[in-house]
C-alpha cells in the first residue's frame, strides 16, 4: 500500500500532525512563532549542505537548526539586542548563506519549489520511517519534560524556585522544535512549517478551556488540515504545503464563530 505516493503522503502528514499539535501549543504559549520561522529559514542551509556533502537531509536540517537555536540562546545571554532583532539576524543570514551555497552548486539537483512549499510526490518510505520514529521520540521527550516546561511557561520563577529546572526544559524544547522542522520539511515546505505549528494551535486556543483540551484540539485540527489539504492538493494539483495550511486557516476561521458565541454568553 506504500506504493501509492498519495497514501505515503497521507501517512506522513498524519504523523507530522500528531507532533505539531502539542509542540504548536507551546510555540503559541511561549510566543515562539517567529523563532519557529527562524529555524525554518535556516533549514535551507541544512538542505543545501546535505546536497553538497551527500548527507541525509532530515539529519542535516536538524543539526543546522539546533545549532542556530543554541546560537540564539547564547546571543540572547551575551548581547543587548532584543530577541526579535536576533531572530531576524539569524533567519536572514542563514537563509542568505543557504542561497549562496545553492549558487555554488553547479547543477541544482533538487526542486527548490518543493523545498519551499512541500512536495507530496517526494515522500519516500524512508521519510515515513523518519517521521514516525522521529515523531514518536519527540512526543516521548515532550512528555518527559512536560511538567517543567509547562510550569515555566506559566511562570519561570515559580518553576525555578520549586526545583523544576526550567532552563534545561527550555533547551530540550528548542531542540524538539528543530527536530520537528527537520522531519516535516518535505511535507509542508520550509516557508510554511511555522504555519503548521501555530495555526491548528491557534484554532484550538479559540475553543479550549484548559491546556489539555487545547493540545487535543490542536492535534485534531492538524490532522483535519493534513487530510483536507492533501485531498485538495490531489484534486486541484496544488503544492501540498500551501493546501494544508489553507485548510488549517479555514478551520481557524470556523473556530472564530465559537469564540464569538462564548463572549456573547459572558455578556
Amino acid at each position: 500500500m506504500f506504493d501509492d505516493f498519495f497514501i505515503r503522503a497521507l501517512i506522513a502528514g498524519i504523523g507530522v500532525a500528531f507532533v505539531t499539535g502539542p509542540l504548536g501549543c507551546f510555540v503559541i504559549w511561549r510566543r515562539l512563532s517567529y523563532f519557529g520561522d527562524t529555524l525554518a529559514h535556516s533549514a535551507l542551509l541544512g538542505v543545501t549542505l546535505a546536497f553538497t556533502m551527500e548527507f541525509n537531509i532530515a539529519l542535516s536540517v536538524f543539526i543546522i537548526s539546533s545549532l542556530i537555536a543554541l546560537t540564539l540562546i547564547q546571543l540572547q545571554k551575551r548581547t543587548n539586542l532584543p530577541g526579535d532583532a536576533l531572530l531576524g539576524l539569524l533567519a536572514h543570514s542563514s537563509l542568505a548563506v543557504g542561497l549562496v551555497v545553492v549558487g555554488f552548486l553547479t547543477v541544482i539537483r533538487f526542486d527548490i519549489m518543493g523545498l519551499l512549499f512541500g512536495d507530496i510526490l517526494a515522500v519516500t518510505v524512508d521519510d515515513l520511517l523518519i517521521i514516525w520514529i522521529g515523531g514518536a521520540l519527540i512526543l516521548l521527550i515532550l512528555k518527559l519534560i512536560w511538567k517543567p516546561l509547562f510550569a515555566s511557561t506559566v511562570n519561570y520563577e515559580l518553576a525555578e524556585a520549586e526545583g523544576l529546572n526550567p532552563d534545561r526544559a527550555k533547551a530540550i524544547f528548542t531542540i524538539l522544535i528543530a527536530a520537528i522542522i527537520a522531519i516535516s520539511i518535505k511535507m509542508v515546505g520550509l516557508l510554511l512549517i511555522t504555519g503548521m505549528l501555530i495555526i491548528p494551535a491557534a484554532m484550538a486556543r479559540n475553543i479550549s478551556s484548559s491546556p489539555q483540551k487545547m493540545v487535543i484540539y490542536s492535534i485534531i485540527g492538524g490532522l483535519l488540515s493534513v487530510i483536507l489539504g492533501l485531498f485538495s492538493s490531489l484534486e486541484f494539483n496544488t503544492s501540498s504545503g500551501p493546501s494544508i495550511i489553507t485548510a488549517a486557516l479555514i478551520l481557524f476561521i470556523l473556530s472564530l464563530f465559537k469564540i464569538k458565541q462564548s463572549i456573547k454568553l459572558k455578556n
Binding site: I28, W29, R31, K147, F150, A151, T153, V154, N155, E157, L158, A159, E160, A161, E162, G163, L164, R205, S208, S209, S210, P211, Q212, K213, M214
Partner: protein, 248 residues
Amino acid sequence: MSNSQNILVKLKDAGFCINDKWLVKGVSLQVEKGKIVTLIGPNGSGKSTTAKIALGIYKKIEGEVEKYTNKVGYVPQKISIDWTLPLRVNDFMVLTENLNKETIDEALSLTGVIHLKDKNLGDLSGGEFQRVLLARAISKKPDLLVLDEPVQGVDFTGEIALYELIKKISDELNCGILLISHDLHTVMSATDHVVCLNGHVCCSGSPLDVAKNNEYKALFGEQASQILSRYEHKHDHIHTDEGEIKKS
C-alpha cells in the same frame, strides 16, 4: 540558636548585583523547621531579592546559599501570567507537582476559594488570585514556604484569617517560612525572627530586639517601633552586641 539539622536554607553574606547596582548585599540569615522568619524594610530594600536568592532563582550571587530541601512552596510578590494559556485554578494547582483531588480541595478550602476551582485563572480578582497562590504553595506540603507579601489585595478579615492560617501551617507541617510583609501589626505577633533590610541587614533578631534598634527606628519611625514592641514574646536566646547569638 538551634541544631543544624533543622536548617532548611541558610544565606551567608549573600548579595546580588545587576547592571553594576547592588540590589542587596551582605545578607546572612537562616530559616529553620517550624520557624517563621520575616523580612521587613522599605520599598527597594532588597526583600524580594533576598527571597529569590534563598530560592535559588538568582544564580550569579555573591556569598553562599545552602539549601537543604527541595520541597519548596513559593508565593511570588508579582506574578505575570500570560493569558494566551487557557488555565483554570485546578490546572494551576498541579503546576509543579501532581496532587490528588482531596489535597487540592483541602488547600483551596483552607484559603477559602474552593468555589473557584473550575474558574479561569484570568477571571479572578486580585485577592482571589492571591488566595489561590497561597493554596497552591501550601498544597504540596512543603518543608520551606517563601511568601512574598502573601496577602496583598486580600480583604481585611481575610488578611487576618490568612495570617492565622500561615501560623497554623508552620506549626502543623513543621515547615519553615520566610515571610515578607509590610504589615507590622499582624506579622509580628507570629514571627520568630525579624530581619530588617535596607540594601543590607540593618538589624535582626526577635521582634522586640528589632523594635529597640536605633537603625530600625530611623528607618521606620518611632511609631513603628512601638507597634513592634507590643508583640513581646519569650525567646530562648539573646543577641550580643557583636551580633552573636547565645543561649540565655
